[in-house]
Assembly symmetry: C3
Homo-oligomer: 140 residues x 3
């Protein structure tokens, strides 16, 4: 078995859900050397997250932003962590609800995403800046 790893810095995106599958695949071309394996994508932040969801209709990503803003509201008076902006504490909560990594099998030398699956960068802050990612792939 072999293992490959690559650091990647994603450019700043505005708050919301963004498809980054192509960037991820390009960043670790060595994963093509693996016929059978796994690829993990990890985000080194606590106010942005990663998830897998529909890669086609952009309205899905809009509705994600709408639902998460309702479910985890800003300016809730019960928050005590509120000195970094009204979007900060909700960002932490959304990040843990969605998770800091996605893990995808490699099958027949390719990332085995389903036909409709794509990788989302979930930017929960208004001004999140660049985001650091680590991609690791292993297998044989």
């Amino acid at each position: 078995m072999k293992i490959f790893q690559q650091l990647l810095q994603l450019k700043e995106r505005k708050r919301g859900f963004h498809l980054i599958t192509t960037e991820i695949v390009k960043a670790l071309p060595q994963s093509n050397e693996l016929k059978t394996g796994i690829c993990q994508v990890f985000i080194q932040h606590t106010s942005a997250s990663l998830t897998i969801n529909e890669n086609a209709d952009t309205t899905v990503r809009k509705d994600f932003e709408t639902w998460f803003n309702k479910a985890v509201p800003e300016n809730d008076r019960s928050y005590v962590h509120n000195d970094e902006g009204s979007d900060d504490m909700p960002a932490h909560l959304k990040a843990s609800l969605l998770g800091s990594s996605v893990i995808i099998p490699i099958h027949n030398g390719r990332l085995a995403l389903g036909m409709w699956q794509g990788i989302y960068l979930c930017e929960h802050r208004n001004d999140g800046g660049q985001r650091d990612i680590i991609i690791t792939a292993w297998g044989e």
Copy 2:
């Protein structure tokens, strides 16, 4: 270290939460050859998901369906992605809240689930059809 991989098609289930631990274990008998390792189960869909929860009382799985239907309601007028049925956009959201994979250690040659842990297929659509799964296990 060795790695094994198996594709599995789960039969159609009705909307709700379904225990699939036995099917998963049966589908990859080679994982028994690993004394120490990891098993990942991945679902190639964006409107169904996988999670680990209680394997005993069926009422837990009923309450999961009830809670998720309340937390992610159908027919919310704020959804813009609504041309594939009222259960579609909620299904995408539920799928990301729960996640597309479960990852379980292999210890002493066995899947090291806790006494009360089982693997759930979370079917979020009314007519989701068959669901494609990839099981990958690695270790030594």
Copy 3:
């Protein structure tokens, strides 16, 4: 590639969110032998969970407890699984929302958590008792 695994029993903690990064790192010193790899931490329970979030300000962990208690209320009359205490069914739901494992890359021989990232034990029960964890690290 090599793989290491260690069982760890966490002492009882009160309901809430607790930083356990140091305990996890200490429990598997062999992970230092890996220059490039992955570390998975798995909890063998269905009413406690693991997540990654801010390691600094304790108010973040307080707000996690507050938000999750609102989002997944106790004593909801729609629960049918309610014979193990009012905190039991909410605990199962919270556990699946957050997940039973965290997976962190190892880069240059160290757990590659971001500057603000720590590992949380999320104790969802009033009297959860000790919690069993399995740490697995692999790489080269």
